[in-house]
Structures are given as C-alpha cells and as structure tokens.
Amino acid sequence: MTELVWITLALPLVGVALLALFGNNLPARGAGLFASLIMLAAFVTAAVALILLANRPEDQRQVTETAWTWLSAGDFRVGFDIWFDELTALMLVIVTGVGFLIHVFSIGYMKGDLQERRFFAYMNMFVFSMLVLVVSGNLVQLLIGWGLVGLSSYLLIGFWHHKTSAVKAAKKAFIINAIGDVGLAVGIFLLFVDLGTVSYSGVFASADTLSETQASIACLLLLVGALAKSAQIPLHTWLPDAMEGPTPVSALIHAATMVTAGVYLIARMNPLFFYAPKVLDLIVIIGVIGLLMAGAIAIVQTDIKRIIAFSTMSQIAYMFVGVGLSAYWAGIFHLFTHAFFKALLFMGAGLVIHALNGEQDTRNMGGLRKLMPKTYFCFLIGGLALTGIFPFSGGFSKDAILSAGLHVDSTIGWIAYGGGLVGALMTGIYTFRLIFLVFHRRLSPYAEKVAPPLIKHHGEGPRSMLWPVYILALGAAFLGLLQIPGLTHVMSSWLEPISPNGMIEATAGQEWLTTLIGSLVGVVGIIIAAHLYLHESDAPDRIRLGRGRLIARALERRCYWDDLYEWMFERPTQWTASFLNRDVDATAFRWLPTDGIGTITAFFGRSVVVLQNGIVRSYALVFAVGIAGFLLYLLVRGT
C-alpha cells in the first residue's frame, strides 16, 4: 500500500522530469496527453491505496514510512516520510482526481499556446508538490511541500510572463506565501525547541506536555502559514490577483487544492490545536470575517474569475470556521465538495472565456445561455452547489459546518452560525449575479461579435474540455449524498480517527434545521440577485452610487487591504532600501573607508602643506640648523 503512495508521489515528478528534459521532442498535444495520463495513473494508484486503506481495520489505518534522512544536524533529524492515513488518502484522491480532470481540461484550454509543455510540466510539478505536502510525515517536509506549491503557484500564475500584471501577481503571491512559510517555519522551530521533534507522531504524542501559551504561540505561527496559503484575512490579497494565471491553474490551485492546504494543515495538526482553544476561536473569527468580507467584495466585482476567486476565499473561510469549531470532518468535507464545484465553476468560466477569446469582464458577456447551453447547465449546477441549495453537494457540506456552530452553542458558535448564514445569503447573491450577468440578459455587443462565430466553429469547447466539466458537475451535484444527515456519514466516520480528541458533529436535527434555513437563505439571495441583475436595470448602479456608495467603494477597492499593505509595508520598505542604498551604504561603507579616508587625510595634509614650499635649499637649511643645534646640545650637555 505504501508502495502505491510512493508511486503516486513519484509519478508527477517523473512527468516533470520527462517533460522538462524531453518535452521538446513531444508534439504539443502529446505533452498534455502525457501529463494527463500520468495524472490518471496517479489517481488510480491513489484510489487503490485509499481502497486498500479502507479495507484495513480502523486501528491500523495510520501508516508511516521513511525513505531517507533528508536533513540532520546533531539531534535534529528530518526524514523524507510518508504519513498515510484517512485524511492523507482523501486528500490524495482529491488532488489526483481533480488534478486529472483539470489536466484533461487544460489539453483543450491551452491548445495553441506555444508553451504547452512548460505548462504541463508546471502542472505536474504542482501536483507533486501538493502530494509532498499531504503525504508528509513531519513538519519540515510539510514546509517543503508548502514552499514547493507556492513555487508552482508562482510559476503558473506567472505563466504568461510577458504580461506585466501576471508577473506582478505571481511575485505578490510568492512573497505573501513566503511570509506564511516563515510563520510556519518559526512555528516549527518553536515546536522543535519545545518538544525536540518535528515529526507528526512525536508532536502529537507530546503535545500534552506543552503549556497553553506554548501551544497557542505554536498554533498561531502555524496559523500564519495556513492563512497565507489559504488566502485568509489578513494574508489574502494575493488570491484575486492570482487570477492572472490560466484558468485551469485557477481551478486546480486557487480553488481545489493548494488554497485548501491551510485547512488541511489545521485539520492535520488538530491534536496540537486541541491544546490551543483560543487559537481555534481566533480561526473561527477570522473565518467569519473573511467569509463575510470576501462575499461582499464578490458582489461588486466585474471580472468573472475574480468573482469566483473571492467566492473561493469565502468558501475557504467556511472551512476555517469548520476546523476552528473542531468540526474537522466538516471542514474537510467542504473542502472535498468545494474542490468539485469550484473547479467546475472555474472550468465553466474557462469555457466562457475560451469562447469569448480570452475576455474575462462580465460586462462584456451576457446572454450566453442560448449559445452555450451545456456550459450554462453545468455552471448552474455549480452555482447551486456553491450557494448550498439542498440537495446539491455544497449544501450538505456547508450546513455541516454551520450546524457545528449550532451544536457548540457558545458565543463563538453563534457567531459562526450567524455569520455563516449571512455569508450564505451573499453567496446566493454573488453566485447568481454572476450567472445572470454571464448567461442571462442580452448579449453584450462584444459577445455578440465574438462568441457566435467561435462557437459555431468549435462548439462550446472541445470534448477534452467538456467531459471534465460534466464529471465535475456530477460530483458537484451528488457528492453531498455521502453525508446525508442522519442517513449516511461516510465522511465523518472516515475522518473520525484523525482527531484523537474527538470532533464536533452536530445532531441530525440540527443539521436538517440548518439545511432548511441555509437553503432558504440561499434562495433569498438568488431572488435578490434576480431582482437586481436578471434584467438590465439601474438598481445596482443606484445602490452603488447612492446610499451605499461608501460601502460599494470600499468593496470595489477590496476593502482597502491592498492599499493598506502598500502604504504600510511596500512603500516604507522600498523607501528605506533606497535610502540605505543611496545615502547610507554608498557614503558610510563604500565612500568613507576608501575615498573618504583619503579625503580626510588630504584635508589634514593641506593644513600643514605650507611647510613644503618646494625650495629644496630651505629643507637642507632646516636640516643643517637642526644638526648644528643638536651638536650644540650634545656639546653643552657633555661639559
């Protein structure tokens, strides 16, 4: 079984190596096919591993193995490990499965781009990095995977590197992720200093020896990493910009897998977080704020991918709320369904963008329902799942989180519950605003000009793009059925062992209640959206320019986070660096010790320079007088 995991891990790496070294010998399409086959193989192995794991007795479902010692110094020793348990297996399947579908989708989407081989190499590399992250048996290896996915994300966001905006977005993403990495690393340091180990088993085993403060600080530092990677407040600003990357990248990395790594981290480290309840509360609060804010911002965005990006942020905030409430299974469940419906949405958006020849602005869309009925249908499923309408998958998973809040029945629980419901309303609004703007209403002049000929020529998209969408749509529609309250509990029971300290699981009644309320709220949201956006009216603009203008303005500027960071960090850093470089370093360290000493010496030299009048005789005279005087002194003294 572990061999299968190793194979799963190795396959994408082999893909990267082969594509990098021999990619030029492959036909353009071959690269995509090859990468997809690799992914398919990885998915199969991962799935088989999952099944094998499931066939084991429950108490033997945790397997660890070390390939080689990666780094050692004294008593610090880190291996290249796998840690294969229920969570890992699930994540493996999600990553490889969704990854496979998105690879297939990419074959069509990237067709005609001159650098497909590079794209697929990067994609495979991302998958490898993600797998390293999830199979890791220790924190350092987790950090490596953490960094490598950041690197892959950087490469993929900046894939179209001739676009300045893409390069900037990539850099931004990388740097913010680096901050998260640092937080994570410092957390690891702390854990090592306190516990003397960095392996999961060691940390989990001795977590109870930590004081609450130590545990809280460690968890807080880990949380920093999680926040950055999962684009949560306050380290979320990179995610919207990351939409500069190709759409499959957005689907794979910025929706399905990488951004959920924070959730995975917290879920994985739950035995530790157990000893830091305040941090868990903080996670909930951050999550609630994040889901509200992101949802609100999503309502006013105009870029199709940005809307989905903010939606992603909002949904991950839900997951944070879930894990923050110790309902780890719920968070992971939402992660699971979210991977499907968000990938679906992104790919749907990708189809639209593809059909509109790269256009992403919703204001240039509209009325595509008739031109692209299949896409519309899938997108609608995705939207409903996102909004959490019963019985689509999103509904079950989100309601599981909310009901956990209800179940906790504390201030934090109620905050989570209330916030979550408001968030659900917003979800409904922005999701269906998007759908209405894109698919309903009249064809925009641009779309009218561009779309019909393209669609007539290609259809809604090549089969390689449509089939993954269908499969994801199926998943988005029905995967919620894994966990029907009171009936099925595949997820909760499967994930139960990962948390030795128990998990919050709401009762079936609470869940059903939440489902009812959630669906209702979602429907309300849809109605509001329909009211405002189904037909062209001046209502949104009236709100935007009228009473709500301050809020609308703030939302359009994404709540001023970017401006804040620019003025707080970016500019002062640049100013300081410029000042140090231009004024301090050049003067104090480059000029002063070399030319400066010369100048100073010359200054003192000039003050005694009058003695050197250039007349040699006068020197000789001084010399002679001196000797005469000296001799005289000797004579006088001698007598």
Partner: protein, 101 residues
C-alpha cells in the same frame, strides 16, 4: 706618522663646512651635487683618518662603501638633471617647486 690625526679631522671639518655652504647657497642642481661630493669626501677623509687612528681597515671599507653610494647618488642625480634638460626645465632648484604644497 708625523702629522696628527686631529689635523686631518680638522681639514675634514672645514671641507665639510665648505660643501655644506655650497649645498645651502647654490641653486644649480649640478653645483649642489658637486658640493655634496665635497661633503662626502670630507667624511671619507675623516673615516680614513679614524681608521688610521685605530689601525683597522673598517673605516677604509666604510669609505669605499661611501664611494659606491656616492656613485649611485650621482647617477640618479645626474639622471634627473638630464631628464630636466630634456624636458626643457630650468636648472635652478628655487624655480623647481612644482612639488610644493
């Protein structure tokens, strides 16, 4: 030895003084060099005289060394004079003061 060593030393002192006056008062580099030679020779005389006084050859060796060094000094000094001539410079040390402060 019918002449006392102090007489030689006295002559040496007088010669030295004359040379020194020449160095101090003359301005032509050539004459200054010549005056320097007078001074060196005066010293040589006293070295030889002292050598005779103590009856060893050390002073004479010293005098020979002084001669060698004097030859070297003259070569360099005259080389400078020649260089100055080739560059059409004035042969007057009071005028050659471009190296003043």
């Amino acid at each position: 030895m019918s002449v006392g060593i102090p007489l030689f030393l006295g002559v040496s002192a007088i010669l030295f003084t004359i040379g020194l006056i020449g160095v101090l008062l003359r301005r032509s580099p050539l004459t200054i060099l010549l005056s320097l030679e007078v001074m060196l020779n005066a010293v040589n005389l006293s070295l030889v005289a002292f050598s005779r006084q103590i009856g060893g050859s050390d002073g004479q060796v010293f005098a020979l060394v002084v001669m060698g060094i004097a030859a070297a000094e003259v070569v360099v000094g005259l080389g400078l004079v020649v260089a100055m001539t080739r560059r059409s410079m004035v042969l007057d040390t009071d005028e050659l003061r471009t190296l003043n402060g």
